[in-house]
């Protein structure tokens, strides 16, 4: 089976590029086909890139606090554009201010994200989850 493509990017007007660089290097090293859109990516750019590259997942980053505003509607847009089975991950400093992780997770799950990550997530762990989530979807699909 070919390496699954994943789309990376930092959503909205967010310029935090350091984590994104590291994620690109890391997920490439883990054998994913990484399509990195860099910082300041709009919802539409994410979805278009996923369609274009037949991506299995979109990994959205948001560090600067506007994640709550920027991420709303992404799941709908995916569905609207025919990506009805794509995996959506989101991670970073997702809301304004120090907030209990559970609260943040609930908020973003409700928005349609499959998994929600804190900034101190060990990327190895995220990669393992991603692999198994992709497996699971493929299994269901076939």
């Amino acid at each position: 089976m070919s390496a699954p493509a994943i789309v990376l990017g930092v959503i909205g007007a967010d310029c935090h590029s350091v984590g994104n660089r590291i994620m690109e290097g890391f997920f490439s090293g883990e054998g994913f086909r990484v399509v990195n859109l860099g910082v300041m990516v709009s919802q539409l750019e994410f979805v278009d890139a996923a369609i274009e590259t037949d991506a299995a997942a979109i990994l959205v980053s948001s560090l600067y606090g506007h994640g709550e505003i920027d991420c709303q509607g992404l799941r709908d847009l995916c569905i609207e554009k025919g990506l009805d089975r794509i995996i959506l991950y989101v991670g970073g400093n997702l809301v304004v201010g120090k907030t209990p992780a559970a609260e943040v997770e609930e908020k973003f799950r409700a928005m349609g994200f499959d998994r929600v990550f804190r900034p101190d997530i060990d990327l190895k762990e995220a990669a393992a989850l991603l692999r198994s989530d992709i497996e699971a979807r493929r299994a269901k699909a076939s």
Partner: protein
């Protein structure tokens, strides 16, 4: 082509009309009105005066970052930082939509924040609040107050906030573009900042001094002093050309105390040298030290120590101002309480250490000389590329990678330079990319990195850079193998 010329007043007026049109609150902003308002501000509340006094008396002033969506909440926040935080200087940190001139989204953020009863914006949307809203803020506080942001095109923001009485304005055409944006051409941002500086110059001409502060730390991530120094000096030169008279150059803590002391020392010496050489005489120059600008540890106890270490280094390096972090740094915009904690922790260190001196040091002097060499390598080339014009030279230099900011998001930044820590935690250059560093300078960097590779028993590699990026948040300075 861009050039380092004072913006012609006619041209300024033409552009100005357009700028004020870009959002309703811009309409009717009048400089004369701003000047009148500024002149009513008492001397102790003038930013440039506070900075100059600090320099004259050898004092270190403390300033937090802070901004929320709504005016009343913002005022409450700032007052709390004055009283409970004992801040000497106040900020108004602008939200990220405003920084991108996305005023409609900022408006949405204001509405939603009102509904949510808490700020959903990561800063204060000053443009949307307009001159009157901003004046409410300026009037409500007793300390000098500054606009802090990250806006490549800050023309409208400057028009509104200066008219409202803010007496200092952070940023610059390079430092608020390269680390903060993806697709804004450098030529455009430099031009837009010439406008801002010209505006400040116009206030100056009318007897109102506004302090300007290029953003020193850039990406805040392993930026070697010479890179930020070169950019800071360039932005200083650009600002002076437009009539700015009070400038504060910044530096973000790198982590090794000797390198950081050397950095502040060399910044002082170099800036004066380049400013004088360019023919400027009649200016007020000060420095600002930023506590650790890279990734923080999540644990608050550990974060307190990162804050305290920054304060310790500053106490010995003796800048005029420290920008203070909070124990919430790794997690999110701090509450007012956390922000005040950062201030009080810093205050405790700065005053406990106020009378202590570190002795003269060969190592510091050696590093000062190296930083100076490095900055000269860069500056010579920038002047050369611009045929003597620093504005044109800067644009060309970024294109050529002669100026290159590590980890920056901008497509106008080459992004080839890779910094790395040596065995004592000094930032050195691993890949120089196209930086015009002399061979002997690079040999020194390589020698120092070699010491680390040897100590760690591994080859110099990109993994070390990644490890260095994570190090402080994991409780170390140097990203050693486990």
């Amino acid at each position: 082509m861009i050039s380092n010329e004072t913006v012609d007043l006619k041209e300024f007026e033409t552009i100005r009309k357009e700028v004020l049109e870009t959002w309703p609150t811009g309409k009717g902003v009048r400089i004369e009105d701003g000047v009148r308002y500024q002149k009513r501000i008492p001397e102790e509340k003038r930013f440039s005066t506070a900075m100059k006094t600090a320099r004259d008396k050898g004092r270190i002033l403390l300033q937090p970052r802070a901004g929320v969506a709504l005016i009343d909440e913002h005022i409450k926040l700032l007052r709390y930082l004055e009283t409970e935080g004992e801040a000497d200087l106040l900020p108004t940190t602008i939200d990220a939509y405003t920084r991108q001139n996305r005023y409609e989204e900022a408006e949405k953020g204001i509405e939603r924040s009102k509904a949510a009863g808490s700020s959903l914006l990561n800063g204060f949307p000053a443009v949307n609040h307009g001159v009157d809203g901003c004046r409410r803020v300026v009037d409500a506080v007793v300390s000098p107050i500054q606009v802090r942001h990250g806006t490549p095109d800050a023309r409208l923001l400057a028009e509104i906030t200066l008219a409202a009485g803010f007496s200092s304005f952070e940023g610059g055409g390079i430092s608020y573009n390269i680390p903060y944006t993806k697709k804004v051409p450098l030529e455009k941002s430099i031009r837009d900042w010439q406008y801002v500086d010209r505006l400040v110059g116009i206030y100056e001409d009318q007897g109102v001094r506004v302090n300007r502060e290029p953003f020193g730390p850039l990406t805040g991530t392993l930026v070697p002093p010479f890179i930020s120094h070169a950019i800071g000096i360039i932005e200083g030169l650009l600002a002076f050309k437009q009539g700015v008279k009070s400038i504060t150059l910044g530096y973000g803590q790198a982590g090794n105390i000797l390198q950081d002391i050397a950095a502040v020392t060399s910044l002082n010496e170099l800036a004066e040298e380049y400013f004088k050489r360019a023919g400027f005489e009649d200016y007020e120059f000060t420095t600002v030290f930023h506590q650790w600008m890279g990734g923080f540890p999540e644990d608050e106890a550990k974060a307190f120590s990162v804050i305290a270490w920054g304060a310790v280094v500053a106490a010995f390096a003796k800048p005029e101002k420290i920008i203070v972090k909070s124990p919430h740094e790794a997690m999110g915009i701090p509450t007012k309480e956390a922000n005040a904690q950062g201030l009080r922790a810093t205050r405790q260190i700065v005053s406990m250490l106020a009378d202590q001196r570190l002795f003269d040091s060969l190592t510091v002097r050696r590093e000062v000389e190296i930083i100076k060499r490095e900055v000269r390598c860069l500056m010579d080339k920038v002047y050369e590329l611009g045929s003597g014009d620093i504005a044109a030279g800067s644009v060309a230099a970024f294109q050529a990678g002669v100026l290159d900011v590590p980890f920056a998001p901008s497509i106008y930044n080459l992004g080839k330079v890779l910094p790395m820590r040596d065995n004592e935690g000094f930032l050195r250059i691993f890949h120089k990319g196209n930086l015009p560093l002399d061979n002997d300078v690079m040999a020194y960097h390589r020698e120092k990195l070699g010491e680390r590779a040897k100590a760690e028993g591994r080859e110099i590699s990109f993994q070390m850079v990644t490890d260095d990026i994570y190090a402080v948040s994991k409780g170390k300075l140097i990203g050693r193998p486990r």
